[in-house]
């Protein structure tokens, strides 16, 4: 099953994917990197190195979608959950072709994914930073929430101002599941796990 992690640049998608994969018991990341031309290659990384290599504070650190496959032992049956870390979707038309192409790829994957985890930055909701909630988030909600398992993860709950932000997110997307998490401290991962497992096809 594919779980797509989507959101604005710098919402914390990559750190969430890596730490969540570790939380689910993964020791080593076997990264399937697809480049723009459709080729794929594999890369083995210990988690610590992966974190160093894939995560940064600057937006658009993730240039292409990363797929992380996790084998889940669920009673007798074994299942594979593929976490898809995508390129952030920014507001407006981006001026770099590479980024636009990567965003198109993200939307393409979105249309094929089974489950969507939509990351928002809880402590930037009411600011005017690029991570603030915007039209893109509204449209992701509108596109993805009706026809597949969908949850909003309000990230960065460890940072100041995030409690207010979480409230604002809940207000704005009333009726949808909103989970407060911290990709950094792994707060709320238990809830995310139970959400994902509930919808494992």
């Amino acid at each position: 099953m594919n779980a797509l992690v989507i959101g604005k640049p710098n919402a914390g998608k990559s750190l969430f994917v890596l730490n969540f994969a570790a939380y689910l018991g993964l020791k080593e990341i076997r990264l399937e990197v697809t480049d723009g031309e459709g080729g794929a290659h594999h890369q083995r990384l210990p988690l610590e190195r992966a974190r160093h290599q894939l995560v940064s504070r600057a937006p658009h650190r993730t240039g292409v979608a990363h797929l992380i496959a996790i084998e889940l032992a669920d009673g007798k049956s074994r299942r594979t959950l593929t976490l898809v870390d995508t390129v952030g979707i920014s507001e407006g038309i981006h001026d770099q072709l590479m980024v636009r192409r990567a965003m198109a790829d993200t939307l393409d994957r979105l249309s094929h994914s089974h489950l969507v985890l939509h990351l928002v930055d809880a402590c930037a909701v009411h600011t005017d930073r690029v991570e603030a909630l915007g039209a893109v988030d509204d449209e992701i909600v509108r596109y993805a929430s009706p026809n597949r398992p969908y949850a909003i993860l309000a990230n960065k709950m460890d940072a100041p101002g995030s409690a207010d932000g979480l409230r604002l997110v809940r207000d704005r997307y009333r009726g949808l599941p909103v989970l407060g998490i911290s990709a950094l401290t792994r707060r709320g991962f238990r809830e995310v796990k139970s959400f994902v497992f509930r919808h494992l096809a």
Partner: protein
């Protein structure tokens, strides 16, 4: 910096592809793209089923691949039966009924180039997708891989091959060769080891013995224990000319070549006129492949002196490319 430019064009993108393309070329903002995607999907599939599981998807994909193989009606029917059987077994298990583990060891009878290995490979993936085999890989061996050079060597080599195949399929090509040497031959020991493994590693791997029809019948007769252990016998008939032409077309498509009208007509005629001409075991689909590959080389010889070549020039095979090699 991201520039906030609204799309100047008034018309709307019509397909998912187009939306993504417009987004990439900077004609749409991401949020507008998402809006269009939602609209297009609403129109395209009103009663779209909820997020299908990965596994049925994969099974269908593999079945489609099998169905794309030309001919092989008997094989396709068997696979449909297997799938239904496995499905019912798992549904019986779900309501607590006793399930039956059926032996799936098989004998494939057919001339070379009739698709035995191809089918075995697809079967492995299919059985893996159906959770019958944990890995579903194919280990291809022949007499030389199983039979050793001194006493005791054979059992060891055969057991090694079986060990590699656990979780998947052990495919013994030209299996009759194991029984050919007579009583003193080590091939007999290989057969005995295989038969023992069928009991000791029950349900852990699937053994497929493949070879020419006549010789396989002879192998089965040579060891009374063998026949009863292979409930599934599949015959791979030689391809008919029309099927060879269809195979030819698929192979060309795969390699991104096509035939001009003359080549198409004359090749069809050639394949039809030679039906039954070939030696009974002369090669079938493999022969078509060799024919095409020779033509592709001929085309390269014909084209390479020319300075300017268009895309369609590079794809086109003419009758001249075939003529020399027939």
């Amino acid at each position: 910096m991201p520039a906030s430019v609204l799309p100047s064009d008034h018309s709307d993108p019509l397909s998912t592809r187009e939306v993504l393309h417009w987004l990439e070329s900077g004609r749409l903002t991401p949020d507008a793209a998402l809006r269009h995607l939602a609209r297009i999907e609403r129109h395209a599939a009103p009663g779209r089923p909820d997020a299908p599981g990965a596994s049925p998807d994969r099974i269908d994909h593999i079945l489609a691949e099998l169905n794309n193989l030309v001919g092989l009606a008997e094989v396709k029917q068997l696979v449909a039966e297997l799938r239904a059987f496995i499905d019912i077994q798992s549904r019986r298990a779900a309501v607590g009924l006793r399930t039956e583990s059926q032996m799936l060891h098989m004998v494939f009878k057919g001339a070379p180039g009739t698709g035995k290995t191809t089918v075995a490979r697809v079967l492995g993936r299919l059985l893996q997708a159906l959770d019958v085999l944990p890995k579903g890989h194919l280990v291809e061996v022949e007499r030389a891989d199983l039979v050793g050079e001194y006493i005791g060597h054979t059992a060891q080599k055969t057991r090694d091959a079986i060990k590699r195949a656990l979780g998947g399929i052990l495919f013994v090509d030209e299996a009759y060769a194991l029984a050919r040497g007579g009583d003193k031959d080590f091939g007999k020991e290989a057969i005995d080891t295989l038969v023992a493994a069928l009991e000791n590693h029950r349900d852990e791997f699937i053994l497929i013995l493949a070879g020419y029809p006549d010789e396989m019948a002879w192998l089965m007769a040579s060891n009374p224990g063998l026949l009863s252990r292979f409930p599934i016998h599949l015959t791979f008939p030689d391809y008919r000319p029309a099927e060879l032409v269809a195979i030819c077309r698929l192979m060309l498509e795969d390699r991104q070549y096509h035939l001009d009208a003359e080549a198409q007509a004359r090749l069809t005629q050639y394949l039809a006129s030679r039906a039954g001409f070939w030696h009974a075991n002369a090669g079938n689909a493999r022969l078509v492949r060799n024919l095409l590959e020779r033509a592709i080389r001929q085309q390269a010889v014909r084209l390479s002196p020319l300075p300017n070549l268009s895309r369609s020039d590079l794809m086109l095979l003419t009758w001249a490319d075939f003529e020399g090699s027939l």
